[in-house]
């Protein structure tokens, strides 16, 4: 479904250039959920943005990307691509237009893609994410963080995508709300046969959601593993093992054994 090879992303020029992603490769089967894990600055979000074509005139992107037999050229994306690939962002406060009602927010992708029955689609998308029609005429500031993230998910569903790119979809939410949103994402995936790419720093969320994952550090993939390896605590690479140890909680002795990976 998604095949990325030799992806390189460089921000800036000359001495100030920052090589954010180096020789990145990833292969995702249809219907799979694939996790991209790493600490801040590891390049995981940049990969997602390069795939979505959001780095035009922002960075130099090179490499081969194919999505469902469509070979992607540079950062330009076809209308077809933009309809079948949608994205949900981390911050539900920043990713919804503060002066647009939920109705306008959800209707916009449908209008952009010149879809019919916009009103029906909006109501249906809201229903799918567990919000009733009374939310249509509210503004983002009138609803809670979890509800806002549901609206973001609904907006992604409007165009009936095949692939949804999820950039830390629950990291701004309380754990009880996170559980609701994760359950929602799992159900939508089952109902619509979606393919997910999930970027997260939270290994437990990835272990819960994904079948396979790549661990990134400093722009490169350190290790690609199946979720069972993660659940068995048996990753191969020292960096992944350290990340796993750190995710298990505070252990004074283990911390002294932490290494710097540069």
């Amino acid at each position: 479904m998604i095949d990325i090879r030799n992806l390189d992303v460089v921000f800036g020029h000359g001495g100030g250039a920052h090589h954010a992603v180096r020789d990145f490769a990833m292969r995702i089967e249809p219907g799979q959920s694939y996790g991209l894990v790493g600490e801040s600055g590891s390049g995981k979000t940049t990969v997602l943005r390069a795939l979505a074509g959001l780095l035009d005139r922002v960075a130099r992107v090179s490499g081969d990307m194919t999505v469902a037999q469509e070979s992607l050229q540079g950062q330009r994306r076809s209308r077809h691509f933009r309809r079948r690939v949608q994205m949900v962002f981390q911050d539900p406060y920043g990713s919804l237009h503060p002066r647009h009602t939920v109705d306008t927010i959800l209707g916009e992708p449908a209008r952009v893609h010149r879809l019919d029955r916009i009103e029906d689609r909006v109501v249906q998308a809201l229903e799918e994410v567990g919000l009733d029609a009374s939310f249509r005429f509210r503004y983002p500031h009138q609803i809670s963080g979890g509800q806002r993230q549901r609206v973001s998910v609904a907006r992604a569903l409007i165009t009936e995508p095949e692939i949804v790119l999820l950039d830390e979809p629950t990291s701004a939410l309380d754990v009880s709300v996170q559980a609701e949103v994760l359950n929602l994402l799992m159900r939508l995936k089952r109902d619509h046969g979606l393919t997910y790419v999930l970027v997260s720093h939270n290994l437990a969320v990835v272990a819960h959601m994904c079948e396979a994952l790549s661990v990134m550090q400093n722009g490169s993939v350190v290790e690609t593993l199946g979720v069972q390896q993660l659940r068995d605590h048996s990753p191969q690479m020292p960096y992944t093992r350290q990340l796993l140890t750190a995710s298990l909680g505070y252990d004074r002795a283990a911390i002294d054994a932490f290494e710097e990976f540069a």
Binding site: A207, M209, I255
Partner: protein, 285 residues
């Protein structure tokens, strides 16, 4: 704890007058703190940060704080005058905030900010303060103390910024540290390294810590004792090691709704909130 507690909080209430009525952010919280690590956990809006701020008299204007008792080592914090509170803040109890980006002064060098914290509370020479600052930067495991001393906050990473905050709060040698989500903005490994620095300093100096966090696993593994807050009240108190045997449905709900690294569960149990969890203490208002 056989010795008398450092801090006693009894029936603490924090309320705000808003255009839509009175909001009770904290209602009837009581606890004692000795030389131990006490974790306060809860979701956003549970009142955990408001509790920490009320202890230091940092409740926002418009907020009203009431308590039967709010006492540090015999000093009544509730009725203390501004001068006494200035001595208490930093000198006796200090607070580590969540985000070093917003909590450090951007136009002062790191060295002079830490020095200032020391000079306010100790009558000493500038040269002595400088030396103590460098020692403290060394103690929080900053590799090049001289360089960081002269640097500005924007020139250091998040992890280093939080170590600098710890250094600043530790240097007047307070008895209690209140840490409000001190490491939530950091990557996991850095987070644990910063906590290890804090942990070592606490045990060396025999200080008490109030650790405010939304992260149950972290609190359970880092602290000695845990208060679980919900809707401005403490709904459960237990030893950190016994958190997995917690009985309150809210605590159980929070524990259950966490995705786990080991298990494959199709569906995460969703927390069902029950209004009956909140004992009605409104009558005492």
């Amino acid at each position: 704890m056989s010795e008398s507690p450092l801090l006693r909080v009894e029936d603490l209430h924090v309320s705000y007058n808003t255009p839509t009525g009175i909001v009770n952010a904290v209602s009837g919280v009581s606890f004692e703190l000795g030389r131990e690590k006490l974790g306060i956990v809860g979701e956003s809006g549970s009142g955990k940060s408001q509790t920490g701020r009320a202890i230091l008299g940092l409740t926002a204007t418009g907020g009203r704080v009431r308590a039967k008792r709010l006492e540090f080592d015999g000093t009544d914090l509730l009725h203390a005058d501004a001068r006494t509170m200035r001595e208490v803040r930093g000198g006796c109890i200090s607070m580590i905030m969540q985000d070093p980006k917003y909590s450090l002064n951007p136009v002062m060098t790191i060295g002079s900010q830490i020095e200032e914290a020391f000079l306010v509370h100790r009558a000493t020479s500038k040269a002595d303060a400088r030396q103590r600052t460098l020692d403290m930067l060394h103690a929080v495991k900053i590799r090049a103390p001289e360089r960081v001393y002269r640097a500005y906050p924007h020139e250091v990473s998040g992890g280093m910024g939080q170590r600098i905050m710890i250094a600043m709060m530790m240097i007047p040698e307070p008895d209690i540290i209140i840490a409000d989500e001190p490491t939530s903005a950091l990557d996991v490994t850095v987070q644990l390294q910063v906590l290890a620095v804090l942990d070592d300093m606490l045990s060396e100096r025999g200080m008490g810590l109030i650790f405010i966090s939304h992260d149950l696993n972290l609190v359970a593994s880092f602290c000695d004792r845990i208060l679980v807050m919900y809707g401005g009240q403490v709904v459960e108190e237990c030893a950190a090691a016994d958190l997995d045997q917690a009985t309150h449905p809210y605590t159980r709900g929070l524990l259950n709704c966490l995705p786990s690294l080991d298990g494959a569960r199709e569906e995460l149990p969703v927390l069902r909130r029950d209004p009956a969890w909140l004992s009605n203490s409104e009558a005492s208002r």
